[in-house]
Each structure stands twice: as structure tokens, then as C-alpha cells.
């Protein structure tokens, strides 16, 4: 089965997007957005990570659905760890 070969253009385009994202996130850190600072930083980080996974790690071009399932599962269970732990810490001071 012929493997997908990324074009030079797409490799460089993603690279530029990642650099732009870095610039953006550093710049945004110096602006006071209140609680949205964290959200903006995490959103930019997640976008960058998604670009790396889809393009650099070739997940967009694979025919293998199992790869996507493995990725989604690991993110899901990480989310469970974080969310249910915070369900405790976030509600400790509730009356």
C-alpha cells in the first residue's frame, strides 16, 4: 500500500503555523484577559498539538481508524483523571 508522502509545501506550512502559534501565545500572555488567559493558552497549545498529530504524525493520511481510537481513548482517560480529581478539589470548600 503506497504511503502518503507529505509535500514539502505542507511540511513548511505546518511549521509556519506552529511558529505563528508560538508567537501568538507568548503575545497573548502579556495581555490581561482575566480568566481567559489560561483558556487562550490551552486553546493555542491544543491547536498546535492537533496540527502535529494530524499532519506531522500522519494521522490525517492513515487508513487506520484504530490509530484515531487509540489517540481519543488516551485523551479521554486523561480527561477523566483531571476532571474527576478536580471534582474533589473544586468542591471542597462548598458548603
Amino acid at each position: 500500500m503506497p504511503e502518503h508522502i507529505s509535500s514539502l509545501g505542507s511540511c513548511l506550512a505546518i511549521w509556519l503555523c506552529l511558529l505563528a502559534g508560538t508567537t501568538l501565545t507568548v503575545a497573548a500572555a502579556f495581555i490581561d484577559l482575566g480568566p481567559f488567559n489560561t483558556i487562550v493558552a490551552l486553546t493555542i497549545a491544543t491547536t498546535k498539538a492537533t496540527l502535529v498529530v494530524l499532519f506531522y504524525m500522519h494521522v490525517k493520511y492513515t487508513h487506520e481508524k484504530l490509530t484515531g481510537l487509540v489517540i481519543v481513548s488516551s485523551i479521554f482517560f486523561l480527561f477523566i483523571l483531571l476532571a474527576l480529581s478536580m471534582a474533589d478539589y473544586g468542591t471542597r470548600l462548598w458548603r
Partner: protein, 240 residues
């Protein structure tokens, strides 16, 4: 000795040799790929535990974490982020090179990745040294006497200082998380060194470059971890 009678058309030799448990080289490659992704899944959970600890304490001690975060060198952190992004590019270009059958280009891009990885580690070491000098390394010699973010605007008598225990917590997590990441980088550099040698020997062809591909997945994963570490550790409260 029992020979592999099941498969008559796939050679038992060649590059790579077809291992006895597989029926075709395609099956062998697919298995290796799935194995690598599962390994990365467990790495997500491994780092995830540290991210959980970080989340809990950042939630509890947000102000003190903001103060401690400002002690990190944002310039070096940004440079390191750029270095790793470039190294992901060199990995991808290396994969392209081997897919197009260009052996020396592959070696070049693998070496470039190593150089960038070492640059990252060098800058990290510099950051760690600076932390050591400022007594921000947790443990017996830790000492922290900095203001909470934004307190400089207030008159001197009213300024509040960060809680040194909570700042030490930030640095404990900083060293644990970036240290674990750096350990993974060291392993990655070693892996790529081995790959560069094998590539130079001509072991990787457009038909077979699975080790390069899988090591590339590992490298990209380590890059993604750093993308999150940078955002979470260096950029908490810079605007004040």
C-alpha cells in the same frame, strides 16, 4: 527445526527479515505501528499524572504560581519551543527523504534533529543552572522572597509576598515535569543517533523505514508535551 511453511512468497531474509509470527510484511509493519501508538498512549497517561498534580496545585495556589512562573526565563522558554518545533520539521523532512529514497538527505535530517535536540537540552541546562544560582531549586537550599504578581504597583508597605512553600511547590513540579521531559529528550536523541548510524549504513529504504517512522512519532509526542509545558509553566501571569 520447523520451518515457516505458512508463508511461501515472503522471504524470510531481506530487509527487514519477516519475523516468524507474521504472515506478510504489511502485517508486520501494521503491528509495529499500532504498538508504537499504544506506547504513546501510555506515555500520555504517564505525563498525565504530573499534569494532574500541576492542575491541582495551580488551582489551589494560583497567585503564588503566577509569581513563581515569572521567575522563569520566558525568552529561553520561547527559544526552546521554537527549537523543538524546528526539530519536528527536520523529522518530517527526514521521513520525506527516506520515502523518496534519498539516503544522505535522511542522514542529514536525522543529524539536524539531534543537533536541535541537544540545543534544547543545552538551553534547559542553562535554565536549571540559573535556578540553582537563585536558590529556586526545591530542597534544603530553597529560598524565595518575591512579590505576588501585580504587587509592585502598590505602596511598599502594602505589598504582599508569595508564599514560599507554594512557590517551592511550583518549582518542584517545574523540575519534575521538565526533568521528565528532558529525560525523554535524552532517550530520543540517543534513538536518533542510532537511527542516523543505521541510515548511513543504508538500512532504510522507501520499502522499509518503520523504525524512522516510529521514532518520529515518539519525537513528535515529546514535542507536544513541551508545547503544553511551555504554555502552562511559563505563561501564567505575564501581563502583570
Amino acid at each position: 527445526m520447523h520451518t515457516n511453511r505458512a508463508v511461501v512468497d515472503e522471504p524470510a531474509h531481506g530487509n527487514p527479515a519477516l519475523q516468524h509470527q507474521f504472515a506478510t510484511k504489511g502485517q508486520q509493519k501494521n503491528a509495529a505501528s499500532l504498538g508504537m501508538w499504544l506506547f504513546l498512549a501510555q506515555e500520555v497517561m504517564f505525563f498525565g499524572g504530573l499534569f494532574c498534580a500541576y492542575l491541582v496545585y495551580r488551582y489551589k495556589y494560583f497567585g503564588d504560581f503566577g509569581s513563581a512562573s515569572q521567575q522563569l526565563d520566558i525568552e529561553l522558554g520561547t527559544i526552546n519551543t521554537v527549537v523543538l518545533i524546528c526539530s519536528s520539521l527536520t523529522v518530517v523532512l527526514g521521513i520525506r527523504a527516506v520515502q523518496l529514497g534519498k539516503r544522505m538527505a535522511l542522514v542529514f535530517w536525522l543529524l539536524a534533529t539531534i543537533v536541535l535536540g541537544l540545543a534544547f537540552l543545552g538551553i534547559k541546562a542553562d535554565e536549571y543552572a540559573e535556578k540553582f544560582e537563585k536558590h529556586h531549586v526545591p530542597g534544603a537550599s530553597f529560598s524565595y522572597h518575591e512579590l505576588l504578581p501585580g504587587q509592585e504597583k502598590l505602596p511598599a508597605a502594602e505589598r504582599q509576598y508569595a508564599n514560599p512553600h507554594h512557590a517551592e511547590m511550583f518549582f518542584s513540579l517545574y523540575f519534575a515535569m521538565t526533568g521528565m521531559h528532558a529525560l525523554h529528550m535524552v532517550i530520543g536523541v540517543g534513538l536518533f543517533g542510532f537511527l542516523a548510524y543505521m541510515a548511513w549504513r543504508g538500512k532504510y529504504t522507501p520499502d522499509y523505514y518503520t523504525p524512522v517512522e516510529n521514532a518520529g512519532l515518539y519525537w513528535h509526542f515529546v514535542d507536544i508535551v513541551w508545547i503544553y509545558l511551555f504554555g502552562l509553566l511559563y505563561l501564567i501571569d505575564r501581563h502583570r
